[in-house]
């Protein structure tokens, strides 16, 4: 029997001003990374509500990565600092819920760092794939 190759599902939230542009640059330079990574554009990493991440895990995501501007470079001056603190808390809570630390990540990727974007995504996808399929977070409200 042939086992279907496991493909992780990865959601990447990218800040419009830096990492989204960094992803475009990776494209311009034809730097490959797995197609499992799907990018959602947000105006700033601080726009990412923890609910979005929980929702992704409820819907079957295997990994969620947040990319923002380097500390000190936020387009809106301070958004990424909020992101950093919020996500530190959220990720430790997710860890407690059984979603391993390796499935969540915050990375700083500037608009000039196409190579870093691709490398980050390759690394993240590899780590997530190594963990195998994720436990699905259940939205208890949906249970009857």
């Amino acid at each position: 029997m042939q086992v279907k190759e496991y493909k992780p599902l990865i959601v990447a939230f990218c800040c419009n001003w830096c990492s989204y542009a960094g992803a475009d640059l990776a494209g311009n330079n034809r730097l490959n990374y797995p197609a499992d990574v799907k990018i959602i554009r947000v105006p700033c990493s601080c726009r990412v509500n923890p609910m979005f991440i929980l929702r992704a895990f409820q819907r079957g995501a295997d990994g969620v990565i947040l990319c923002g501007c380097h500390p000190g470079d936020c387009h809106y001056t301070s958004g990424n600092y909020y992101t950093r603190r919020r996500m530190a808390l959220l990720f430790s809570m997710l860890d407690y819920l059984g979603i391993e630390r390796e499935r969540t990540r915050v990375e700083w990727v500037s608009a000039a760092e196409g190579a870093k974007f691709a490398a980050t995504m390759n690394d993240f996808a590899e780590k997530v794939a190594a963990l195998g399929e994720n436990k699905r977070l259940e939205d208890l409200r949906c249970k009857k």
């Binding site: 197609a35 105006p43 609910m51 819907r59 995501a61 909020y82």
Partner: protein, 664 residues
């Protein structure tokens, strides 16, 4: 229910080479809300845009999804296309299937699968899009420049020459700033006063420019295009409109022993004074800390001698309210205090001075009339030691000094050394340096001239200690290249003190909600691409308040800031970004969480009456976002515990829908 059209672009073979565009447009046809789906070779071409326009009209589309290159590339193009066909431009979403799909994946099935998912996410989002209209606000066509040094002067002149009114607010009794204190300027050695004072006169005579000297900004309200600013005019006890600047009072005043700040305390002035001969405005000012009349009610000599009747001992601080469309910060710099560096004996010997003091000592209008004489005994110094990097490039844990390079010291020290050797060839001049940094037009040539033609001794190493012994200063230092410890008997030691932003900058930044770095330099909106704008709309940066700068750099930045201001003031209305936060007043509980995280101060609170079902009224505190100030980062939406705050164009529901579409 939306009626959505999907347009898949081939981008020649850029997309079509890795993505089966036909399959994509077929797959997306079946998504909810989609009533039309097609693909075309170049969607951004005129023909491609016509397909979109026609489809909008023919199928009465309420929203469109373009699967193409990055929105950073053509979002604006397709928004215009939609608008031309009568569709609200914010009903357009782009699925990035080129940069983030076809270009980074090699295999057709994989690329196609991902492109379909990205398309579905975009369709899911458009289903929840609502038409957005950018807000408009009027522009007050006047600018405020805070700081009257060379940065502020140049910015004001450039703005005024374009025909807009400008007010300069200067803390000191005269404009001119640090440049007015300098002797010569590197690398051309033209005299600072000769190039600055004509500009000061231009400012004074310009019909579009007003100068508020001896004044400070005390309050700033409003936002880009509509700032309300309160200016505090400090009492100078002299009526500016009557004073002719004749200077008689400054000769007759009996209080002779006041430290002259213009000469950095190296000589004295009277209690009523004009800082220097070319001051603008040339109006006397009474120093209330030293005036006997103001302190004890005895004297009144200046009033007696003033033929213009300009003296007014009863003058009070005055507050003036003005409206501006743009504000330029040009608050400049100061050398840091040498108190924490007393290994160089600055507080122990008068003959250890800072470089700015050296400027005054060599300036023809300075305390020694330009003769280089030691402050302690007025003798001509035979050996002079210059110490570079005093307080610059320090580590944060060293508890003193600044982490950055002050940038101007290498060049002015080369200038000082060269001028000294030029005027007094009998003088031995040593410069202790860590690195000599000369990146500027003709800068390195200038430094080399100091070494090669003028015989300045440049020694790689640092001074460890300066000991005043008798009338000499023993300078103990390392010569790293010779691997020696030197002891030089010097007559004068000049410290290249690090520079720091003016102390007033921090409170000003708070008033302006402009951001600063850890060193209190104002931060620019983008370090490369928006260097003269602060992240706060309508606030611009000029000169050393943004970072250490020499004169040519300051002047070019001042001109750039002026150009940005002119661009703003030339508009009659400001069109905002419609993707801003807004609060649902029914859900808001007035908790202030959003206000605390907003980097722009765009959120205020108001008490609003609500009619209750039982016909009573209830007054509740609710958050209100000023759309002209909000920049749309969305930070507030995340902290809102009740979910009242949302971001237009990137609403919670919309992003959630994208997540769902991707994770299906």
């Amino acid at each position: 229910m939306q009626r959505i059209g999907v347009f898949v672009c081939w981008c020649g073979s850029n997309i079509a080479g890795t993505v089966d565009v036909e399959a994509v447009s077929e797959a997306l046809k079946r998504e909810p809300g989609v009533v039309f789906s097609t693909n075309y070779q170049y969607m951004c071409s005129q023909a491609g845009q016509d397909i979109i326009k026609d489809a909008i009209k023919e199928h009465r589309l309420t929203g469109i999804v373009v699967c193409s290159c990055s929105p950073r590339m053509h979002e604006a193009t397709f928004r215009k296309t939609a608008a031309a066909a009568g569709l609200n431009p914010y009903m357009v979403e782009i699925a990035n299937i080129r940069e983030q799909c076809s270009w980074v994946h090699k295999e057709m099935p994989i690329g196609t699968e991902k492109a379909i998912i990205l398309g579905k996410a975009a369709v899911a989002k458009v289903n929840l899009n609502t038409p957005l209209t950018p807000g408009e606000s009027p522009v007050t066509k006047r600018a405020l420049v805070i700081g009257g040094g060379i940065a502020g002067i140049q910015t004001a002149l450039d703005i005024a020459d374009a025909g807009f009114e400008v007010d300069i607010v200067e803390k000191k009794p005269t404009i001119g700033g640090k440049m007015a204190q300098l002797d010569k300027t590197f690398p051309t050695l033209d005299c600072a006063a000769c190039i600055l004072t004509p500009k000061m006169v231009d400012v004074a005579q310009h019909e579009k420019i007003r100068i508020f000297s001896y004044s400070e900004v005390s309050e700033v309200k409003g936002f880009v295009g509509n700032f309300d600013v309160t200016i505090k005019k400090n009492a100078r006890y002299v009526k500016e409109d009557l004073c002719t600047g004749c200077g008689l009072c400054t000769e007759k005043c009996p209080m002779k022993k006041c430290a002259n700040e213009f000469n950095l305390g190296m000589d004295t002035r009277r209690a009523i004074y004009i800082p220097f001969a070319q001051a603008v405005p040339k109006v006397a000012t009474i120093d209330p800390d030293n005036c006997n009349m103001l302190k004890n009610g005895k004297c009144g000599v200046c009033a007696k001698v003033c033929t213009a009747g300009a003296i007014d001992y009863t003058q009070k601080d005055e507050y003036i309210e003005e409206k501006y469309g743009a504000i330029v910060v040009a608050t400049g710099f100061n050398p840091i205090s040498m108190d924490k560096f007393d290994e160089f004996a600055y507080n122990q010997s008068k003959d250890v001075i800072t470089s700015l003091e050296f400027e005054r000592l060599t300036n023809a209008a300075g305390p020694t009339a330009g003769k280089l004489l030691r402050p302690s005994d007025g003798k001509h110094p035979e050996t002079i030691v210059f110490v570079q990097c005093v307080g610059s490039r320090c580590d944060a844990c060293a508890e003193k000094g600044k982490e950055y390079c002050s940038k101007i010291c290498c060049m002015y020290t080369a200038k000082h050394a060269m001028l000294t050797r030029d005027k007094y060839p009998d003088t031995d001049v040593y410069v202790f340096y860590i690195d000599v940094r000369t990146p500027g037009k003709n800068f390195d040539e200038f430094y080399r001239r100091a070494v090669e033609e003028y015989g300045v001794h440049y020694i790689k190493g640092m001074v460890g200690k300066v000991s005043p012994e008798g009338d000499k200063l023993i300078v103990q230092a390392s010569d790293l290249l010779a691997d020696k410890q030197l002891k030089i008997e010097a007559d004068l030691v000049v410290l290249a003190a690090a520079i720091e932003p003016d102390k007033s900058a921090r409170s000003l930044a708070t008033m302006l909600t402009a951001s600063m770095d850890t060193n209190d330099f104002f931060t620019e909106a983008h370090p490369k691409l928006r260097p003269v704008e602060s992240p706060t709309a309508g606030v611009f940066l000029s000169g050393a308040c943004q970072g250490p700068k020499d004169i040519p750099e300051t002047v070019s930045q001042a001109g750039a800031a002026a150009a940005k201001v002119i661009g703003l003031l030339a508009k009659d209305k400001l069109v905002g970004n419609p993707c801003v936060a807004h609060s649902n007043e029914m859900m808001c509980n007035g908790c202030s969480s959003c206000e605390r995280v907003c980097p722009y101060g765009a959120i205020t609170y108001e008490a609003k009456e609500f009619r209750m079902p039982d016909r009573t009224t209830l007054v509740r505190r609710i958050a209100v976002v000023n759309p002209a100030v909000c920049q749309g980062c969305g930070c507030c939406t995340v902290v809102c515990p009740s979910g009242a705050m949302d971001l237009k164009g990137f609403a919670n529901e919309q992003i959630m829908a994208e997540v769902d579409a991707i994770c299906k």
